[in-house]
């Protein structure tokens, strides 16, 4: 989650999710919620499916540079891109259980961080 100071005029620019259709943590659970997050922040939504050749390269790049990289990395991973070019890792699915991933999303939507972000406050 974004913690480093950023220019005051930097705004959220896009929500990206790295996922696969066969992953129960991803579809529909995280796909729907990340899309909702993008809607709440009024930014575009980008879906990167690791099973699609054209998309997996971009997915690998964003995970390696900004996310939880591993040779066989966890999905889903969600990123928030900013107008100043920065990319923040927001969320990685909980390997334990799908229910835990669902709870993680619930907590994120109720978080003080998201309330501040939606209000245009400090990030």
């Amino acid at each position: 989650m974004p913690r480093r100071p950023r220019p005051a005029d930097a705004r959220p620019a896009r929500v990206s999710i790295v996922l696969a259709d066969w992953c129960p943590h991803c579809v529909p659970l995280s796909d729907v919620r990340a899309r909702r997050l993008a809607r709440q922040l009024r930014v575009p939504y980008r879906r990167l499916d690791i099973e699609r050749r054209a998309e997996v390269r971009v997915a690998d790049r964003i995970v390696r540079a900004h996310g939880d990289w591993a040779p066989d990395y966890l999905i889903p991973q969600v990123f928030l891109e900013w107008t100043d070019g920065r990319v923040d890792h927001l969320f990685t699915g909980f390997s334990e259980q799908v229910a835990r991933t669902r709870q993680g999303w619930t907590d994120l939507f109720r978080s003080a961080w998201l309330r501040r972000l939606r209000a245009g406050g400090p990030r």
């Binding site: 989650m1 913690r3 480093r4 996310g67 939880d68 990289w69 591993a70 040779p71 066989d72 990395y73 966890l74 890792h89 927001l90 969320f91 990685t92 699915g93 909980f94 390997s95 334990e96 259980q97 229910a99 835990r100 993680g104 999303w105 907590d107 994120l108 109720r110 978080s111 003080a112 961080w113 998201l114």
Partner: protein, 182 residues
């Protein structure tokens, strides 16, 4: 750079899975067995009463990715060491907002720049002919210790190659201490 630290209690509580069960083996509850390591964080091995490991989870409060260090520590506890492959270790970063209000507040009050890093080690079962080989854990080598080994999923349960004792009694004998600490 801020040194890695143990995961604060309020965050550790949020990371703990609520009702873990053995998946694909016996569906019995799995219990976390704490393991002492030469790392600042904590390792919990989730094993069922039959000794089959569902997942091992290492967590620390750090800016770094601890995967390489965790790999080394796990290999020291595995027979043979190559039981632990790098590709079976997966990193997850937890920032606070996805962990609930108390952990979020706790981490935010301390700057919020250092997340919690979690490394999962999950070794999936392998079928060889008609026999499924699974990852077992033996906890009878001293308090806070573990020995990992791969063995056929059989009845009676496989024996630990280091102490030659059955996995079932091993796990039961340490289950009480694991419950008391969790």
């Amino acid at each position: 750079m801020t040194p890695a630290r143990p995961v604060p209690r309020v965050v550790a509580a949020a990371l703990r899975p609520p009702d873990p069960h053995c998946y694909g083996h016996c569906s019995e509850p799995v219990r976390p067995h704490p393991v002492t390591m030469r790392l600042p964080g904590s390792l919990a091995v989730y094993a069922c009463p039959g000794g089959v490991v569902s997942v091992s989870v290492y967590a620390e409060w750090a800016a770094r990715d601890p995967s390489t260090l965790v790999l080394r520590e796990l290999r020291r506890r595995a027979s043979p060491a190559r039981t632990v492959l790098r590709r079976d270790l997966r990193l997850a970063t937890r920032h606070g907002p996805e962990l609930g209000p108390d952990p979020e507040r706790f981490l935010a009050e301390r700057g919020g720049e250092i997340p919690v890093r979690v490394v999962y080690w999950r070794r999936y079962p392998v079928r060889r002919g008609a026999v499924v080989h699974r990852l077992f854990a033996c906890f009878r080598h001293g308090r806070g210790t573990v020995r990992f080994y791969v063995a056929p999923d059989s009845d009676p349960p496989a024996r630990c190659p280091a102490c030659r004792r059955s996995s079932r009694s091993r796990v039961t004998s340490t289950g009480r201490s694991a419950r008391a600490r969790s």
